[in-house]
């Protein structure tokens, strides 16, 4: 929760909403080169594995885990593979994706150039060989950095809810 942090001005409010919607469109349409251009070079990208604890007492195994733990170079490798259907078995034909972004909540940070933004993400995915959709839901915690003419995405953590992914793969960038 970042409720104690000040709300952003109207211009940033709208611009951040539009940034996230535009960004989601790039992911959904697999325009990965364009999407990479929105990332800061020090990008951190994390999708933790949910764990369930009884009685309110947590004990994680090992050092925790993540379904994705990427940085700019590894996202670049993924993007290159996912951009060309001949380079993966999973995405040949490419699966179809819809990224539903809602509950966008931008906040100022101590650093005037940086905004934290939480939002909800529901991905609806159809693979060529499977008629029923796979739904992935998560809560996104983003760090946006204001740059000339817009923002860069500097950090993203997607707290998905499903501990056991009910499908064969996540061959896309959530």
């Amino acid at each position: 929760m970042n409720d104690s942090e000040p709300r952003v001005g109207d211009a940033d409010y709208r611009a951040i909403c539009e940034f996230l919607n535009d960004e989601a469109e790039l992911l959904a349409e697999r325009d990965y080169p364009q999407w990479l251009s929105l990332l800061a070079e020090d990008m951190q990208y994390l999708v933790p594995v949910p764990e369930f604890f009884e009685h309110g007492t947590a004990r994680s195994v090992g050092r925790g885990n993540a379904y994705f733990d990427d940085d700019y170079p590894s996202l670049k490798v993924r993007s290159e593979l996912l951009s060309d259907p001949t380079l993966t078995t999973a995405e040949n034909p490419p699966s179809l994706l819809c990224y539903f972004v809602s509950n966008i909540r931008p906040r100022r940070t101590a650093n005037a150039d940086e905004f934290t933004v939480t939002s909800n993400l529901l991905i609806y995915r159809i693979r060529a060989s499977e008629p029923t959709p796979y739904l992935l839901a998560g809560k996104r915690h983003d760090l946006l950095r204001a740059v000339a003419g817009g923002y860069k995405l500097a950090r993203r953590e997607i707290r998905i809810l499903q501990a056991s992914i009910q499908g064969p793969n996540l061959s896309f960038i959530p």
């Binding site: 090992g62 590894s74 501990a163 056991s164």
Partner: protein, 447 residues
């Protein structure tokens, strides 16, 4: 009506044609065969349930599956490792619904019966004396599976007649030592297991990790090119796979050890301090097999596998780091498999190495991994390809084994029988040959 009674060994026998190295596709399609597997294999043999480093302290537990039965893997108050049936002896409720934790015991959510962390009954809903009068009170203890450990690898079985875990692993121990006992302190898990559901029969996984050399070039060629420096990684991979040994370790345990080309340095992907420890810990024969192995992939029958290899996502500028993934292929339906996947690392490794090993594992062998994502689609495509009425009358082929099975290596450093190629299909098929033995009651302690 138990499923068991619906099938006779004679119905199953012909499903694997040992002589011709083929098998009927029925074994991937039939819900009745799947139930029979649960009964004849999964309730009778040793199953991997976790790693000791997941439950380091007394009371630490994790919840797991043995076949389709839920169990709790727990270190009890006395430090003993227990595998408890996660089902209250009163009316059957799960007594633990978390993924991991630490507890002195387990209180059933329905009527509050209390079991300590060794599984012993401690309290019922009312005056226990009433029970004590009429029943043997300790028949209410949680059902305990028989536990066996090989180092920090924990296995369990429901079968009291099963041979010892040591005998069960047999030759595989020599190879397991390379993977898990190559440093004095051994390995640790890097986090809770990944879980995801591939939409195929569970046996495709153990076969693939048993291990399937040729698929690597087709399925993983592009990611190999992208993450290995140099322009001809895929071709080098193919050459290496064709020339590298596959090993039938016995008892259905099988795998491959893909040897790097000459140009590669030995022990690629490890930090120097670890390499030193390997050299102190392993035998020369083990080191001979390991030091140039750019891929070690194996299955311990029926559904435990490992895969290890070096990876870098900035191949031009960053040396690769070796990850090790171990996994269970859980048979949750005849056409659905829940993969449980852990990443391990040497306890003595540096913090930097551990973090990087984990990241390399996540980015390669996982639901979102650049290797697994493609395997799962291929396996899905098999399931969709074989389950029609015509499809299931056909066979799957391991006929390359006909060309290789008489060509066992004579100078191989390890135990078991080794074949000269990762393309041989002998070891993949051996998983099904062992399957047939269980399913037709040919293994005397598992009938």
């Amino acid at each position: 009506m138990l499923i068991d009674e619906a099938f006779q060994p004679s119905d199953i026998e012909h499903l694997v044609d040992v002589e011709n190295a083929t098998a009927s596709r029925q074994i991937f399609c039939d819900p009745g065969i799947w139930r029979m597997e649960l009964q004849r294999i999964f309730t009778r043999t040793w199953l991997f349930v976790g790693h000791a480093s997941e439950i380091p302290a007394a009371g630490d537990y994790v919840t797991r599956l043995m076949g389709n039965d839920p169990v709790i893997l727990v270190r009890d108050a006395g430090g003993q490792i227990r595998v408890l049936h996660n089902s209250c002896t009163h009316r059957g409720s799960l007594v633990c619904r978390g993924t991991s934790g630490n507890a002195r015991g387990f209180t059933c959510p329905y009527h509050g019966w209390v079991f300590d962390n060794s599984g012993a009954i401690r309290a019922t809903a009312m005056d226990d004396a009433l029970y004590k009068k009429h029943t043997d009170y300790h028949h209410f203890d949680l059902k305990r599976a028989r536990v066996g450990t090989y180092g920090d690898l924990i296995f369990a079985t429901w079968n009291d007649d099963a041979i010892s875990l040591d005998d069960y692993l047999g030759n595989a121990r020599w190879y397991l030592d390379i993977m898990f006992h190559r440093t004095p302190e051994g390995m640790e898990v890097l986090g809770a297991p990944h879980r995801w559901v591939s939409t195929n029969n569970w046996k495709l996984g153990p076969m693939n990790f048993g291990a399937d050399g040729p698929h690597a070039v087709k399925v993983h060629g592009p990611i190999t090119d992208a993450t290995f420096a140099g322009g001809n990684a895929r071709q080098m991979l193919r050459d290496a796979l064709i020339e590298s040994p596959s090993v039938s370790m016995g008892n259905g345990h099988n795998g491959i050890w893909t040897q790097a080309p000459e140009a590669f340095p030995p022990f690629l992907g490890w930090e120097p301090a670890l390499i030193e420890l390997f050299q102190k810990t392993l035998t020369p024969e083990q080191l001979q097999l390991m030091q140039r192995a750019v891929a070690s992939v194996s299955t311990i029958f029926p559904n435990f596998s490992w895969v290890q290899g070096p990876a870098s996502f900035e191949p031009a500028t960053k040396m690769p780091t070796t990850f090790l993934a171990i996994r269970n292929w859980q048979p949750i339906a005849h056409d659905r498999t829940e993969i449980w996947n852990w990443f391990l690392v040497e306890k003595e490794a540096s913090e930097t190495f551990k973090e990087e090993a984990k990241r390399m594992g996540i980015r390669t062998f996982s639901a979102g991994g650049t290797f697994d994502q493609d395997d799962a689609e291929a396996w899905h495509s098999i399931q969709r390809g074989v389950e029609g009425e015509i499809g299931r009358t056909l066979d799957v082929s391991f006929e390359m084994a006909l060309a290789y099975r008489d060509r066992a290596l004579v100078d191989f450093p390890g135990p078991g029988t080794a074949y000269p190629s990762n393309y041989a299909e002998v070891t993949e098929f051996d998983v099904l040959v062992e399957w047939q033995r269980y399913m037709t009651g040919k293994i005397d302690w598992a009938r």
